[in-house]
């Protein structure tokens, strides 16, 4: 199999539109990716033909909705090589997935415990643990990065000890693109904490760009969102080891998560339902399964090679572009190019590119402490997906020339 980017683009209706009378160049994929027709169709089909609440209706539609919804769980379980479908918990997104773990951990932490995160976190993987530590009296420890935006591996290992109750780190950084060597780090965390530490991986930025095999990684929790991986917004996944999840403190109550209720007491349902309160995002799950099925039919090796080519071209052009400085030059990166310019605040860069039909993100990328660490007010960030082309990378730099001219 091969990969034809121009053919793939035809499957994305939104890529055919224009912005400010220019062809849309969508380079904000780390914020959210666009959706292929297959995903849109699956969601329209659900609402057109079998919309119903799951698990409880005594009728044909409920049966059909429940089958599709639970089949979506199987699709996710298979995609990340979960040991069992019970390990796949639906959430609203990566942030909620991390909150499920952090809210539970807050009840388990002792004041002598430590939680280890890194300097490259976005807020979802920082504030969650910070608050769990505040609630329990545990200590939040921050592992440093170097100026290239890479985790300092030796220092990281030194920060782990027999009090480290949990280490959470991103598989890939949203603001810098850095891919962390998580497999070896997970082993380090296990060894240095005498197997005391749990390991949580924030997979928001990696799920679309890295192979994820949770059994091979041997982490305890892995979180990701559908919408950064060609699926709909409002749906995410918390994967966790069954032995942990089945006793994990419940964080929301009501709906499908109970097995028996009296006025004064309640018993919780089994996995995966015990951590899923209320009517779930049924259409979201069905749409996400459509996205995974669509993606896995592609030549994924060729897809990742194509994305690497886009990043390499963008990096090369950025290095040759005077007045521009790349922020984040890790050796291993997802296709993210963060940068600042001598003249022009990131917001100015964003405004002028927008008028040229080029969509990027600017600002602190919900990673304020990281921006302070890097001594920048924020960055401009172009992030690529499988449907982007080399021509679009070139258009980005034509656009940036205009930025440089206008702000000269």
């Amino acid at each position: 199999m091969a990969f034809d980017v121009l053919e793939i683009r035809k499957e994305f209706p939104i890529l055919q539109r224009s912005v400010h009378n220019k062809s849309l160049v969508y380079l904000d994929n780390a914020a959210t990716t666009q959706k292929p027709q297959a995903v849109i169709d699956a969601m329209v089909d659900y609402y057109s033909n079998y919309n119903s609440n799951v698990h409880r209706g005594a009728h044909q539609l409920a049966d059909q909705a429940t089958r599709s919804y639970e089949a979506a769980r199987d699709t996710v379980a298979e995609f990340i090589n979960a040991n069992s479908r019970s390990e796949v918990i639906w959430s609203a997104g990566t942030t909620e997935s991390i909150n499920i773990v952090a809210c539970g951990l807050a009840k388990l932490l002792k004041p002598s415990d430590q939680v280890l995160v890194t300097q490259m976190e976005h807020h979802a993987n920082l504030v969650t643990w910070q608050q769990a530590c505040k609630a329990s009296g545990a200590t939040l420890v921050i592992a440093p990065i170097n100026d290239a935006g890479e985790l300092m591996i030796e220092q990281y290992a030194q920060l782990i000890n027999s009090h480290t109750r949990l280490a959470s780190l991103p598989h890939a950084s949203n603001a810098l693109g850095t891919i962390n060597p998580i497999k070896s780090l997970i082993k380090t965390i296990r060894d240095h904490s005498n197997n005391y530490a749990l390991v949580m991986i924030d997979g928001a930025q990696s799920i679309a760009h890295c192979d994820v095999d949770v059994q091979d990684l041997d982490c305890d929790f892995y979180a990701f969102s559908s919408h950064k991986f060609y699926g709909p917004t409002g749906l995410g996944v918390l994967w966790g080891k069954e032995a942990l999840l089945q006793d994990w403190p419940v964080w929301q109550t009501g709906g499908e998560m109970i097995s028996h209720v009296s006025y004064q007491d309640a018993q919780w349902n089994t996995l995966p339902y015990r951590l899923e309160a209320g009517t779930p995002n049924i259409c979201g799950a069905i749409g996400f399964a459509a996205a995974i099925n669509w993606f896995t039919q592609l030549d994924t090796v060729a897809v990742l090679a194509h994305e690497s080519k886009l990043l390499a071209l963008a990096t090369e052009m950025a290095e040759d572009f005077s007045g521009l400085q790349i922020i984040g030059s890790a050796k291993q990166k997802v296709p993210v190019l963060s940068f600042v310019m001598d003249r022009g605040h990131p917001a100015d860069i964003g405004f002028i590119l927008d008028r040229q039909g080029i969509a990027i993100r600017t600002g602190h990328h919900c990673a304020e402490p990281l921006m302070e660490r890097l001594k920048v007010p924020g960055t401009a960030r172009a992030s690529f997906a499988l449907y982007n082309t080399c021509d679009e990378v070139e258009q980005l730099f034509i656009g940036l020339k205009k930025v440089r001219e206008m702000l000269a």
Partner: protein, 137 residues
């Protein structure tokens, strides 16, 4: 030099037909607008945007409200100059009577007032209006 009035700005911007000239005009306005003393750029005066920061300082003299505003982004400074043309050295009654949505629509810049723009412009306008309401009540 003094900044143009809101009527002059509408006239000026109407003259340009392409976005580039319009944005250059904004950048020029942003450069001409007096800067805020960095000592005044405190947390209390900060209106935080996701993309850029905006600061506002207010003084009441006689029955008029005068503002000093600033931003770390030049185009946002230009947009702030448009806001100043409409609101600076006006009475609270004038400020509240001014239809800022219409104004930005006439300038064809209403997208910058949308809630998706994390540039603090919308927040600044809301803040100025709140100050005017508090003064006139």
């Amino acid at each position: 030099m003094s900044l143009p009035s809101s009527a002059e700005i509408i006239e000026d911007l109407d003259f340009f037909d392409d976005w580039e000239e319009r944005y250059k005009y904004l950048i020029d306005l942003g450069e001409e607008m007096p800067k805020m003393d960095p000592k005044l750029q405190t947390q209390e005066r900060l209106v935080k945007g996701c993309q850029s920061n905006v600061w506002i300082d207010v003084q009441a003299t006689d029955d008029k409200l005068s503002f000093v505003v600033d931003s770390d982004a030049i185009i946002v400074r230009g947009l702030l100059a448009l806001v100043m043309a409409a609101f600076n050295n006006k009475t609270a009654v004038d400020i509240l009577a001014f239809n800022v949505t219409d104004y930005f629509q006439q300038l064809d810049l209403e997208q910058h007032l949308s809630p998706t723009r994390g540039n603090g412009l919308r927040a600044i306008v809301a803040k100025i209006q709140a100050i005017a309401r508090a003064t006139s009540s």
